[in-house]
Amino acid sequence: MAAGGGETHVAVLLIELGAILFVLGVLGRVAKRLHIPVIPLYLLAGLAFGQGGVLSLSASHAFTQVAAEIGVILLLVMLGLEYSASELRSSLRAQAPIGVLDGLLNAVPGAAVALIAGWGATAAVALAGITWVSSSGVIAKMLSDSGRLGNRETPAILGVLVIEDLAMALYLPLLTALLAGGGAGKVVSAVAIAVGVVTAVLIVATRYGRHVTALVSAKDNESLLLGVLGLTLLVAGLADELKVSAAVGAFLVGIAVSGSVAETAVEVLAPLRDVFAAVFFVFFGLSTNPTQLVPVLPLALVLAIVTSGTKMTTGYVAAKRAGIKRRGRWRAAVTLIPHGEFSVVVAALAVAAGAEEKLGPLAACYVLISIVITAIVHRLPDRLHSEQFPGR
């Protein structure tokens, strides 16, 4: 390519990227003004810009694709960083039965729908993951915005989220192995490796977390940022090479890094995560054809309503088990409804690997509907109570 051509390409790339990020910035403000999570707006923006949209984003496609990959990795490493190994272990001990209930109630509807639709076993596993995992990002934001962090039921809600995230460390390698194909033997070995690695990392992180942390420990934020980011991408790449899923590698790095380094890393990585995760959601929207949304809409609606019911059951039981009274149980029930980043991550993995392509638009619709349902019902338990007992 001639030098002039290269420069034009760079110029177009910058313009497209700048336009995307600027629009996302505006959407962020809109979301804040309306008190809604920003993820659905990012998805909608991606859908609007996609095929037949206002802008044709061809020059930046390769870049946004890589940025989206990094977005997934950053989403997962932050998740690992936010939960310390001891929190993971104590949640696992205290909430394991609820985690099993959560998995059964919410994964089964997804799997059933995929099987009934005749999409095959791999798509069933993918859709099970999409309906299983609530959005810890949306829920944490909602709890904080509505001033419910101090509520008695909140630890039970967070416990469910922790277990779901931990389960992802086993689920993602399973899904990756299934998507890669290669028979039962490979799938079993991939899962066995994942179980072994996760257990080992949890043990290492709780016993020898200091040594892992020493690898990236640094006095100043700049080298800490580069150190953690470098280590994460390195491990994610290696994990991908071993077919264990890059996302899991990143998640495990997050768990292994602990203490004050983890706290600072969360601070310095958060802005990066915000940028790349936003690009990831947009990219997902971009690669989904808006015309495919309409046919899957009824299915997404049914799935969202059914799994809102099963999520509410999970939350209600979790709060009841924690000894919470009725109103708190209902608050816990409605809080678990929203789905978000994980559903999109799973759908993106599945579609990229060539599984049923309807999973993409279905997941997009499903996430949007689940968040709309949450917005409608999440204040109902307290509102109904104050109508029932006015003046309190």
Partner: protein
């Protein structure tokens, strides 16, 4: 005199501490990892927040100082009156102290001098009753109670001029 504080860990977010007041009302403080604090007043059922006030780090510190500082000085004054001959001093942990970044227990201050460390002042906030695994930082003020000789000895240990220190 003492107030029961129930602590709840909020994975990924921070800690919530809940106090039951003698009036029967409940008060909660959420300390988030990012430094934000939430002051929570519970509703009549005692489980959900009726009011949630978000405080920045500075606001929370200001509030703590207003609520806590008179209490600490009052306690120290009582201590001083109760035991003639004992003094209370705020000893600095200098930048070159051998104990910056090390647990309080390493100083063996009580064993070696007989003086007691009753609180540590850090960035304007008082951290009462530090345990032996409490990690000191350069710039801390260590509130020490003891005889003049003992307190002076602790000061020498902290700035590393005590021959046996280390």
């Amino acid at each position: 005199m003492s107030v029961d504080i129930a602590t709840r860990v909020l994975p990924g977010i921070g800690v919530c501490q809940e106090l039951e007041l003698s009036s029967g009302r409940r008060l909660g403080i959420v300390t988030r990892r990012n430094g934000l604090r939430d002051l929570v007043l519970y509703d009549d059922e005692g489980e959900g927040a009726a009011v949630d006030v978000a405080l920045t780090d500075d606001e929370a510190n200001a509030l703590a100082e207003i609520l806590g500082a008179p209490q600490l000085t009052f306690r120290l004054a009582v201590l001083q009156r109760q035991a003639e001959g004992l003094i209370v001093e705020q000893l600095p942990v200098p930048a070159n102290s051998p104990f910056g970044g090390r647990p309080l227990g390493d100083t063996q201050a009580r064993t070696r001098t007989g003086a007691s460390i009753v609180a540590v002042l850090r960035q304007g906030a008082a951290l009462p009753s530090p345990t032996p695994d409490f990690v000191l930082q350069a710039g801390d003020l260590v509130v020490t109670v003891g005889t003049q000789v003992a307190v002076d000895h602790v000061a020498r240990i902290l700035d590393g001029t005590d021959p046996a220190a280390g």
